[in-house]
C-alpha cells in the first residue's frame, strides 16, 4: 500500500508536468472543446466507462467477473503457494509482479513527455496526458474498491487487498491507451504483456480469477473511456486515490 501510494504521488507529479506542457497546445485539440461546468466535467470523466463505447468493455467485464465470483466456492487461504503444476507461468510470475506496479505506465508517461517536448510533438504530449489520466482513474478506483471490500488473498490471508487486482487495472489501462493511440500492432503487444501480468497474479496466488477480471475491466474501460473523453475535448481529470492508513482522497486537475 505504501509503495502504491508513493507511486500515486509520482503519477501526480508526472501528470502536472504533462498538463503544464499542454497549456500551449490547448488550441490544437483534436476536436474543438466543449465548455462545461466543473461538476459536469467531473461526472463526465468518472462516468466515461459508462457513457462512451467503453461501456461494452464494462458489460462484458462485469459478466465475466460475476460468473467467476459466483462460481468461486473455495475461498481458501492456503498460506502457501499452489501446486507447481498448477502454475502456468512457473517461477516467472515475479516479473509480472514487478512491472505491474505501474512501471509501464510511468515509463510511457516519462518517455512521451520527453519526446513531445524534444520534438515539439503535440500528439505525444496528449498521449502522455491520456496515459496519466487513465492510469490515475483506474488505479484510484481499484484502490477504493480494495479499501472497501477487503477480500483476503488466496495464498496470503493476512493481506486483505485481493479484490480487485491493481496490477491488472494498471497494466490494462496502459495497454488500452497504447492500442487507442498507437494502433493494434503495438496495442496487441501491450495487451499480451498486460495479460501476462494479470495471469502472474493468479499464478503466484495473490489473486483469484474474479479479482483480475475486475482489474482488467476497470483498467481497460478507463483506458478507452478517457481516450474517448479526450477526443470529445474534456480538459480536466478527477480521480479517487488512496492515502496512508486506509484513507481515501480525491485528486483533480485542469488544463487552462
Amino acid at each position: 500500500m505504501v509503495i502504491l501510494t508513493k507511486l500515486m504521488m509520482i503519477f501526480l507529479v508526472c501528470l502536472s508536468l504533462t498538463l503544464k506542457a499542454n497549456e500551449s497546445e490547448q488550441n490544437q485539440a483534436e476536436v474543438p472543446q466543449v465548455k462545461k461546468r466543473k461538476g459536469e466535467i467531473f461526472i463526465s470523466d468518472l462516468a466515461s466507462p459508462f457513457q462512451t463505447n467503453a461501456r461494452f468493455i464494462v458489460y462484458g467485464g462485469v459478466l465475466a467477473t460475476s460468473l467467476a465470483y459466483f462460481n468461486q466456492k473455495n475461498q481458501t487461504y492456503r498460506k502457501r503457494e499452489s501446486l507447481k503444476d498448477a502454475q502456468p507461468l512457473g517461477n516467472t510470475g515475479f516479473i509480472g509482479d514487478i512491472i505491474g506496479y505501474g512501471v509501464l505506465n510511468i515509463g510511457y508517461i516519462a518517455w512521451a513527455t520527453w519526446y513531445g517536448h524534444h520534438y515539439e510533438d503535440s500528439q505525444m504530449k496528449k498521449n502522455a496526458e491520456l496515459m496519466a489520466r487513465a492510469t490515475l482513474y483506474a488505479t484510484g478506483t481499484t484502490m477504493v474498491f480494495k479499501s472497501v471490500i477487503k477480500e483476503k488473498r488466496p495464498g496470503y490471508p493476512d493481506d486483505e487487498n485481493s479484490f480487485p487486482s491493481g496490477h491488472s487495472s494498471a497494466s490494462f489501462s496502459f495497454a488500452s491507451v497504447i492500442a487507442a493511440r498507437h494502433g493494434w500492432g503495438y496495442g496487441g503487444a501491450a495487451y499480451a504483456l498486460a495479460g501476462f501480468i494479470a495471469v502472474s497474479r493468479v499464478n503466484d496466488d495473490f489473486h483469484y480469477l474474479h479479482d483480475i477480471l475486475a482489474g482488467i475491466t476497470i483498467g481497460a474501460s478507463f483506458g478507452w473511456g478517457v481516450h474517448y473523453n479526450m477526443q470529445k475535448g474534456n480538459n480536466s481529470w478527477f480521480t479517487l486515490m488512496p492515502t496512508p492508513n486506509r484513507g481515501a482522497g480525491i485528486a483533480m486537475g485542469w488544463s487552462f
Binding site: N53, L67, K73, S82, L83, A86, P154
Partner: protein
Amino acid sequence: MKFFIFILFVSTTNSFGATTEGESLPLSSIHFQPGVENWRATTELGFYLLEKTYETNIREFEEFNYQHITSIITFDYGLSNDNSLSLGIHSSHNGRLKKIYDDDTPLSKVQMGYEGLEKVELSFKSRFSQYLSDGIDQSLIMKIQSGVVSAKDKNASIGQTDFFAQYNFSFYLPRNYEFFGSLDIGYIGKKKKRRVDGETENSDTYARMSIDLGLIKRFSRFYIVSDVSFGLTTNYNIKSPSYNITSDKGFFVRGKLGLGYETKKYLIEIFHVTRSDVFNKVLPEDQIPDPTLDYEWESSYTALRVAWLF
C-alpha cells in the same frame, strides 16, 4: 466400426480475396454469416482421446481413459445480414472407457463401452460494426449447451447446461494472412455421473475465462489455420460418498493446427487439437502439501470438417 469417406468437390466458382463484406467472407472466417434465410450445414467427424489422471510422482490414484468417435452436425440459419442462429448436435460412437485405480482402493480396473447423443448446442451469433477501432471485424456469440441423453458413465443427465459468451475479432494482414482471436466466458454447469460401482459422483459449477489467438494463411482456395488458447478456471470440485477432489483454481492450454480447402459454397478441413487442463488441488490445513500432487486432463482430437452453403 470402420468409416469410409469419399468426398468429391467440383467447383466452378472463382476463389475469393480477403474481404470484410458480409456474405463474401470465406466460410472459414469466424465472422461468417449465411445470407438472409440461407443455411450453412457443417458435419464433423473425429477421433477423440481423453486421459484424466490424479496422481503423484510415485503413485497414481486413478486414471480414466476415454476414446470415441465424435460426430457433430451443425446448421446455421441467417436471420439477417449480421445475425444467425445455430443448432449443433454432438454424439459419440464406439466409445471405450478404461478406469484404472490405485491398488489401495477397493475399486478394480474397469473397461466398458459407451455411445449416444451427448449434447445439443444452441447459438446466437451477431456480427457488429466498429466500436473500438477501425479495420477490425467483430462478432459476438452466445452459446448454450445442454445434454439430453447420457452416454453411460461418461456424461451427466442432470443439470448439464453450460453457457458460453464469446467475443471474436479478426483483421487482415498483407499476403493473405488473417489474424483472429476470441475472448471466451464460460459457465460450466453441474454434472452428475453414475459410476460403475453404483456411486453417484457430482461436480459443482465452475467458470472459465479464456483467450484464443490464431492465424490463417490462405493460398487461393487452400488455407492453413493454427491457433492457441489459454484459459483460467475457478474451482472444479468432485464429490462422491467415498472421496472428494477439491480444487480452487485451474488453467488450460490448447493448440490447433488445420489444413483446409474452400470455395464460396463448400469447405473441407482436417485438423488436430490437443489440450491440457490442470487443477490446483486443495488440501486440508492440517495436511502437509505434496508438491507433486497432480490432477489433470490430457486430450487430443483429430477431425474432418465439411461445410456447405445452401
